[in-house]
Symmetry: C2
Subunit: 196 residues, 2 copies
DNA sequence: CTAAACCTACCTATTGGTAGGTAAGTGGCC
DNA sequence: GGCCACTTACCTACCAATAGGTAGGTTTAG
């Protein structure tokens, strides 16, 4: 009967961040509107403001979701008991999967490219997520060095930055060229550059 | 008075692509409007349509400008008679300068991040510019290999892709972190990864 | 006289956002 | 158990601002 009962309702909030995330990955932050989201979820756009008063709030909320997802992912990786090299490979695999046949890039990379048009608080949130990635990578590199898997050229933080930047760029260029091999070539060379 | 005589007029077309370029680099393609451009050039926005009927035309025109600029730059580099390693460094230096104190990124990287929202012809234009970069880099690497300056791990095209992706990502992340050292760390590690 | 290089004035669609509803579910109190 | 206050999760209907774009002038130079 017209309106669904509460029991029927989906978790609208997480649906919103999910679709907004997808749109940021495919089109960018400034290329989607509340109307686009409303049509996708089959609700009115005013309802979106109930969960996210402003688009900035939506952006920040969505990044916070990613922060939690990173927690989950990192713990799942830990449980697999991979060696550092395997963990690095899992990181690459994660992004290769995220690419979805060269249709998406990392949301953080997308937002970084529109930096000057982002509200300061959203910039902060993005930065926190970047840092999280780099801290995790640094940890993996540290362990890998101890295990003799990675070389010791420069600080691990610098190598982590190198990996992070290359992955972001590779995802973007690989989409522009419509060829995931591009991404794989880059990660192959990263492994080469890091090995002991 | 009021209105300037034709002799006083700047080259409005190139001013337009220049300012549009800057806005793409700082905010992204979807974050600036014809109105923004009009205010910056102190003309009416309708006049912009005289030069560029649509925003897509503007984007494409601007990329074609960059293609010509790349020609000029490459020839200027050739005249300097640098060795391949010096040419690669000049490439890095070019991007470090383009960063303008971590306020701008490469326009191609910016457009690549908004890929899904770009008109197909603009995507094509962007791709042509990416290819130009990579072909030039491949040439430099080829010569560098012959001169014993670079290693021969994989094809030069693959190494060129690696360099290109890393530079793009480094520019973006370095802006997000507001720290050009980030960019320099990445290029340092690229040199390391390429050396014979 | 013509054409280049603008202009004013307008258009429709869309933007993010607000005001004020309303149906359905929740918890407390007698 | 029944009533009532309250909250949740939406809704309709609007708003001013801005988007890209168009029609049809006007000024200036050659």
């Amino acid at each position: 009967m017209g309106r669904p009962t509460l029991a029927d309702r989906k978790d609208t909030r997480s649906e919103l961040t999910k679709v907004a995330l997808e749109m940021i990955q495919t089109k960018g932050y400034n290329a989607f509107s509340y109307n686009d989201l409303a049509e996708r979820l089959n609700i009115r756009k005013a309802s979106i403001h109930y969960y996210f008063p402003t688009k900035e709030d939506l952006g920040i909320g969505l990044i916070q979701d990613r922060l939690k997802a990173a927690d989950v992912w990192q713990k799942a990786i830990e449980d697999k008991n991979l060696d550092p090299q395997g963990q690095l490979q899992a990181y690459f695999d994660y992004f290769a999967g995220l690419s979805q046949n060269c249709t998406r890039i990392c949301p953080v990379g997308a937002l970084s490219s529109e930096w000057g048009s982002l509200p300061p608080k959203l910039q902060q949130a993005v930065n926190a997520l970047v840092k999280r990635h780099q801290v995790w990578l640094s940890g993996v590199l540290e362990k890998g060095r101890a295990a003799g898997q990675f070389n010791k050229k420069g600080a691990v933080e610098e190598q982590a930055q190198f990996i992070y930047a290359s992955v972001q760029g590779a995802l973007q260029t690989s989409r522009a060229q419509n060829n995931l091999d591009y991404f794989n070539q880059v990660t192959r060379q990263l492994r080469e550059a890091l090995k002991a």
